[in-house]
C-alpha cells in the first residue's frame, strides 16, 4: 500500500490533483474515526478530518516519502483535533446541535466533559457509553488511548504522531488506563 500511496503522492506533486482522491479514499475512515473519538461529535469530526486532508494536500511537498504517510496524516489530524478541543466553547454543542439532530447519538448531544447522572450513564448503550467514557478523559490521555486501543497503533507510531518521546507516551497510556479504570469502577 505504501508503494501505491507514494506513487499517488508523486502524481499529486506533479500537479495531478485527482490522484489525491485515492489517498483520501484509503485513509478517510481511519482518520475520521480518530477525529470522531477525539471530538465525540460527527459534524466536528467530519469538518476536522476533511480539513486535515486539505492541509495534507497543501503541505504534501514537505512530506518525507521515506516515512509512513499515515503517521504524517494522523499527526495533522490529531493536532487539529487538539486545537479544536482547546478552542472549544462550552456551549458549542448546544449551537451545533440545532442545525440537525439527524444521526446524532445521545452522547454527541452532551458537552464533552459534562458528567451525566449515574442513572443515565447506566442506561447508555454500550457504544454510547464507550464514547462517553473516552470523552471524559483529559485530552492528553484521550489521544494516546484512542491511538493505542481504537486505532491499534504501536507505541512508536503514537510517539511519532504526537511528536513526543516514547517514555511520555508510555506514561500517558498508563495514566490514561488508570483514569479510565477509575471512571468505570466508580459506577
Amino acid at each position: 500500500m505504501d508503494a501505491l500511496v507514494n506513487k499517488r503522492i508523486k502524481q499529486v506533486l506533479k500537479g495531478d490533483q485527482s490522484a489525491f482522491s485515492d489517498i483520501v479514499n484509503l485513509y478517510q475512515h481511519k482518520l475520521y474515526q480518530i477525529c470522531y473519538r477525539m471530538l465525540g461529535n460527527q459534524q466536528e469530526a467530519e469538518d476536522i478530518s476533511q480539513e486535515a486532508f486539505v492541509r495534507a494536500y497543501i503541505n504534501l511537498h514537505t512530506f518525507d516519502q521515506k516515512r509512513k504517510f499515515s503517521t504524517w496524516l494522523y499527526r495533522i489530524g490529531t493536532n487539529l483535533c487538539i486545537d479544536r478541543i482547546r478552542k472549544k466553547k462550552p456551549d458549542y454543542y448546544l449551537d451545533a446541535e440545532v442545525a440537525g439532530t439527524d444521526g446524532l447519538n445521545m452522547y454527541s448531544q452532551i458537552a464533552s466533559k459534562e458528567q451525566l447522572p449515574e442513572e443515565t450513564v447506566q442506561q447508555l448503550e454500550l457504544q454510547d457509553r464507550i464514547q462517553y467514557e473516552i470523552g471524559r478523559l483529559p485530552d492528553k490521555y484521550r489521544s494516546v488511548i484512542v491511538l493505542k486501543y481504537i486505532e491499534e497503533l504501536s507505541l512508536q507510531e503514537i510517539s511519532e504522531i504526537l511528536d513526543m518521546p516514547l517514555g511520555t507516551v508510555k506514561t500517558r497510556i498508563h495514566r490514561g488506563r488508570e483514569a479510565l479504570r477509575k471512571q468505570l469502577s466508580n459506577l
Binding site: K14, G15, N25, Q28, Y32, S49, V54, I58, I145, R181
Partner: protein
C-alpha cells in the same frame, strides 16, 4: 493495597504494554498470587482495555471523498498547463512563434521578394512561374510573391504564397494545391509545422 509498592502497578502497565522484563514479570506474578487487591486492580485494567477495544469501527460519512476534493485549492499547476499545451499545440506554437521568432518572422515574411522552388523544367518569366505544357515537374513547387501557371504536370504539392495559381485545361497536379494570400494564413501554414514539433515535444 495501600501497603503494596508502587512498582507493582508499574509492572502491571509494563505487562499490558507487552514490554515487561522476565524479572519484573516474575515479581508481578508472585505478588498477584498473594495480594487480592492487586489482582483486582489488574482485572480492572484488563477489563478497561477490553471495554475500549470493543468500540465499534466508525466509518467516514458518505461523500466524504468528494467533499474533500471540493475543498482542495484549485488546480493551478504544471500538469494543468501541460494538459492545456497538449490540447492547444497551435496556440502555444503561435505564442512561442511571436515571442521568440518575431525577428526571423519579420525578415522572412513574404514582402516583395519573389522566390520559387528550384525545379529543372520550370520557366520563370519575371514573377510568373510556368510549368510548360508537356513537361512533368517531379517534386513540390512553392512560389512566393509570384504567380504560377500550370500547363503541364506537377508530380507533387503546389503552394502559392501571396500570388495566384492558374491551371490550364491540360494541367495535372498529383498533390495538394494551396494558395496562401493572407498574412494569417501564411502564419498558419508556418505554425502547423511548429505545432507538430511541439506536440512531439510534449508527448516525449
Amino acid at each position: 493495597m495501600s501497603t503494596c509498592p508502587q512498582y507493582i502497578v508499574d509492572y502491571m502497565h509494563e505487562y499490558l504494554d507487552g514490554d515487561i522484563s522476565r524479572e519484573h514479570e516474575q515479581q508481578l506474578k508472585n505478588h498477584l498470587q498473594v495480594c487480592s487487591d492487586c489482582r483486582q486492580h489488574m482485572h480492572e485494567l484488563s477489563d478497561t482495555i477490553a471495554f475500549v477495544k470493543s468500540a465499534a469501527h466508525i466509518t467516514a460519512p458518505p461523500y466524504f471523498e468528494e467533499k474533500v476534493m471540493k475543498r482542495l485549492p484549485k488546480e493551478k499547476n504544471r500538469v494543468g498547463i501541460q494538459k492545456w499545451f497538449r490540447r492547444h499545440p497551435i496556440i502555444i506554437a503561435a505564442a512561442v512563434f511571436f515571442l521568440f521568432m518575431s525577428a526571423a518572422l519579420v525578415s522572412s515574411y513574404p514582402n516583395d521578394e519573389f522566390s520559387v522552388t528550384t525545379q529543372p523544367n520550370l520557366i520563370v518569366n519575371g514573377q510568373t512561374v510556368i510549368v510548360p505544357e508537356g513537361e512533368v515537374v517531379k517534386g513540390d513547387i512553392v512560389v512566393k510573391n509570384g504567380d504560377l501557371v500550370i500547363e503541364g504536370e506537377v508530380d507533387g504539392n503546389v503552394t502559392v504564397i501571396n500570388g495566384g495559381q492558374y491551371m490550364a485545361s491540360t494541367s495535372v497536379v498529383t498533390g495538394q494545391i494551396k494558395e496562401i494570400d493572407e498574412v494569417f494564413e501564411w502564419l498558419w501554414f508556418e505554425m502547423k509545422d511548429m505545432a507538430n514539433d511541439f506536440k512531439a515535444l510534449f508527448e516525449e
